[in-house]
């Protein structure tokens, strides 16, 4: 017992004050990229050719954040002239098209379906479905339940049964082998329900795009309401998206 108390004192109170106070991430962190369309065309082409995800659109000078894995290669190659990554984590969008960007995303709050805010603003229960992927998305979603983030203080919880849920939070490129289970889980949730695609995988297939063992785009079988880009999305990206979209 004494040990429990001693540890409790040592650990203290660690929950962050977010969103009242911002959380600053280290300068090497790669958040929302900023693209300079006026940069030399040859350099843009070189970045596009080298991009492992083929997600740089040279014509419109945009990056597809739904496919980008934030590897940072384009920034390194262009010496920051074409792309620079900011430490801004706020990247959730309500439409797939908005993820093709030069670095300015529309304000998510305004795109939220009004009735979602009314219905789920005070209490949101989500069923997480891991459908392929590498488990880093799941790991950084789980982190939201640790004392630092303490997701439940916002009335948001991940629940075990789809019957208790208001929606699904899907990670992974939707493998063929998880297709049926994903649909069954989705169908088991009572209406009205929300669908969240989290991570490059669920949005576009991510690192596995082009594989014939995956569906690769959740939206093609279940209409998605909220997109959270990243590989994996930083816990802050997920938290910001959930709070802005539903609160």
């Amino acid at each position: 017992m004494l040990q429990v108390i001693k540890n409790r004192l040592e650990q203290g109170h660690r929950t962050s004050k977010y969103p009242k106070e911002p959380i600053n991430l280290y300068k090497r962190f790669r958040g929302l990229p900023k693209v300079d369309p006026k940069c030399d065309g040859a350099l843009i082409q070189r970045c596009a050719d080298a991009c492992p995800q083929d997600c740089i659109d040279t014509k419109n000078c945009r990056i597809d954040l739904g496919r980008c894995v934030f590897c940072g290669l384009c920034e390194t190659l262009s010496g920051g002239k074409f792309v620079t990554f900011s430490q801004n984590c706020e990247m959730g969008t309500a439409s797939r098209d908005d993820l093709f960007t030069q670095g300015d995303l529309p304000a998510l709050a305004e795109h939220s379906k009004k009735h979602f805010k009314k219905l789920f603003g005070r209490s949101l229960q989500l069923r997480q479905i891991s459908a392929g992927g590498c488990n880093a998305c799941e790991a950084d979603t789980n982190v939201l339940n640790t004392p630092f983030w303490d997701l439940s203080r916002f009335g948001i919880q991940f629940v075990a049964s789809p019957r208790h849920a208001d929606g699904i939070h899907v990670t992974g490129p939707l493998t063929k082998n998880m297709r049926a289970a994903t649909i069954t889980t989705f169908e088991a949730i009572p209406h009205p329900k929300v669908v969240i695609a989290s991570g490059a995988c669920a949005i576009s297939g991510g690192p596995f795009y082009g594989s014939d063992e995956i569906v690769g785009d959740l939206n093609s079988i279940i209409p998605v309401d909220l997109y959270i880009p990243g590989c994996p999305p930083h816990p802050l990206t997920t938290l910001h998206a959930l709070l802005t979209y539903f609160k």
Binding site: R8, F29, Q128, A136, T141, G172, A180, F208
Partner: protein, 502 residues
């Protein structure tokens, strides 16, 4: 074993130098190696100019390689030694080659084979997973079956578990996976080189550095790239940080599973504190984009070194205190002791690796046996408790956290600056070559193997996550246990679904 070729970890070998034996000799050589305690690092099929072939890498205290032409069906090695069990099933699934007499020939991941041969399991894949899959079942009046998954209760990966029980007691647990199969190996064999690192890093997200490192080393061997000392140090530190973060997360979860909540809350947070230093190194909590063929993408300067050192100094006493809290609580040790036992004999038989193996008394640690990066000059860890139960698996991790911390501190003290990195836009791989790379990821032995063709293109890319060996260990640990101890046993192994399913 005299007919196999002895090789080094990460050594480029001309494929012509690999002994190509008649199948029967090949089989005998592998069995002979297994009989003297040898283990399988890699055993797979591939196709070369329309001919199916087999290749195996075995380890004793050295590494050996050998190959043969593959008959469409062949006498199973598993019938004589269990260590080949999963490998032969995989060979059947990937290349339609049937191991006759295999006692447990079932699908591994549920996908059609790579070369259009007749399906070994008589599946045509119009059905959803698992297709024709004869689950093991126990008959009897008081016997009942519990089926769980693929979708589980928490935020975890999918898999299907079947328990054959008598009351609360588990006779046998069958673990059927494949739900996470996304075609990793097929992708690695077909995509342009620029995509490969991204795929390697996402084979198992919690082993980003482990798998990323294996691939980088293999490509470096094939492309003849040198890595400077500073970069090696950063990679070693990153691999050890990965180990610490995962061990801490799991110890917290183990504590939660025996309903001792405070340590789980503390370790839940502290695990994140160990991901942040990785973000300081390379901009991502899991180490994405840090390790690349040729070095590391970010050098470690004085600023990063100081941040890392200070963080470790702050966290280490906290970690020790929380560990002390867990392992000194009688209510915890009472539940950890003698639960989920895997005897040394069984561990040996199925070839357990990593901390699970070490907890059962198999000392194998790839950092010691086949050192890469900076490991040759670093001291090894030896674990004190080897009873093969949850307690031992927990203790190994507790000890490894402290050991890894001291490794990182040692490296920080004598670290050389890494040269700045130039992205390898055009990697040229040696033709007709073979390389196998082995690293001790946090779960155990991670291995990648690459074969190139006449043009230096990748003919076969084989990945092995330690989970490929260890899932069977979890199944065995449940024998004769109460079914309510499943979460505890499961967490004590914490295996990767995606690393297994590829």
């Amino acid at each position: 074993m005299d007919k196999l070729l002895q090789i080094q970890n990460n050594e480029k070998i001309n494929r012509a130098d690999i002994p190509h034996l008649p199948f029967e000799t090949f089989r005998q050589q592998l069995l002979e190696c297994a009989a003297t305690g040898g283990k399988v690092v890699q055993f797979f099929a591939y196709e070369d100019e329309g001919v199916s072939k087999l290749l195996a890498v075995m380890r004793t205290d050295k590494l050996y390689v050998g190959g043969c032409d593959a008959p469409d069906s062949f006498a199973s090695l598993t019938a004589e030694s269990e260590i080949f069990h999963m490998f032969e099933r995989e060979i059947g699934e990937q290349y339609g080659l049937k191991a006759e007499g295999h006692p447990w020939l079932k699908m591994v991941r549920y996908h059609s084979n790579y070369n259009g041969k007749k399906d070994v399991f008589d599946n045509n894949y119009s059905q959803d997973i698992p297709g024709n899959y004869p689950y093991f079942s126990v008959e009897g009046e008081t016997v009942h079956e519990v089926a769980v998954g693929p979708v589980h209760a928490g935020i975890i990966e999918p898999g299907h578990f079947r328990f054959q029980c008598c009351g609360e007691r588990v006779f046998h647990l069958e673990i059927q996976l494949g739900y996470q199969h996304r075609g990793v190996e097929k992708l690695l064999q077909s995509v342009p080189l620029k995509r490969m690192a991204i795929i390697a890093e996402t084979i198992a997200g919690d082993t980003t550095i482990g798998h990323g490192l294996c691939q980088a080393q293999a490509l470096e061997a094939l492309a003849g790239l040198e890595v400077d000392k500073g970069a090696k140090t950063v990679r070693t530190i990153a691999l050890e940080l990965e180990r610490i973060a995962n061990h801490i997360g799991d110890l917290g979860a183990l504590s939660l599973d025996v309903a001792f909540n405070p340590p789980s809350a503390y370790f839940g947070r502290i695990r994140g504190e160990y991901l942040n230093p990785t973000q300081i190194l390379g901009g991502n909590r899991f180490g994405r984009g840090l390790v690349r063929a040729g070095g590391v993408t970010h050098v470690m300067g004085d600023e990063q070194k100081k941040l890392l050192r200070d963080k470790l100094a702050e966290l280490t006493p906290e970690v020790e205190h929380v560990n002390e809290l867990i392992f000194s609580a009688p209510s915890v040790t009472g539940r950890f002791d003698n639960t989920g036992k895997v005897s040394k004999e069984n561990a040996e038989k199925i070839g357990l690796v990593g901390y699970a193996g070490r907890a059962s008394g198999l000392s194998y640690d790839a950092r010691v046996s086949f050192p890469t990066e900076c490991y040759a000059e670093l001291p090894a860890n030896s674990n004190s408790k080897t009873d093969g139960d949850v307690h031992s698996r927990g203790m190994v991790r507790r000890e490894e956290i402290m050991h890894s911390t001291s490794l990182i501190n040692t490296l920080l003290d004598k670290m050389e600056e890494a040269k700045s990195y130039t992205p390898q836009e055009l990697l040229q791989l040696a033709p007709h070559s073979f390389v196998v790379s082995i690293n001790e990821g946090w779960r155990g032995e991670v291995s990648h193997c690459i074969l190139t063709d006449a043009k230096g293109e990748i003919l076969r890319y084989k990945v092995k996550d330690p989970s490929f060996h260890n899932w069977m260990g979890l199944a065995l640990s449940l024998r004769d246990e109460g079914i309510s101890d499943f979460p505890l046993c499961n967490k004590s192994f914490n295996l990767s679904y995606c690393g297994f399913d590829l």
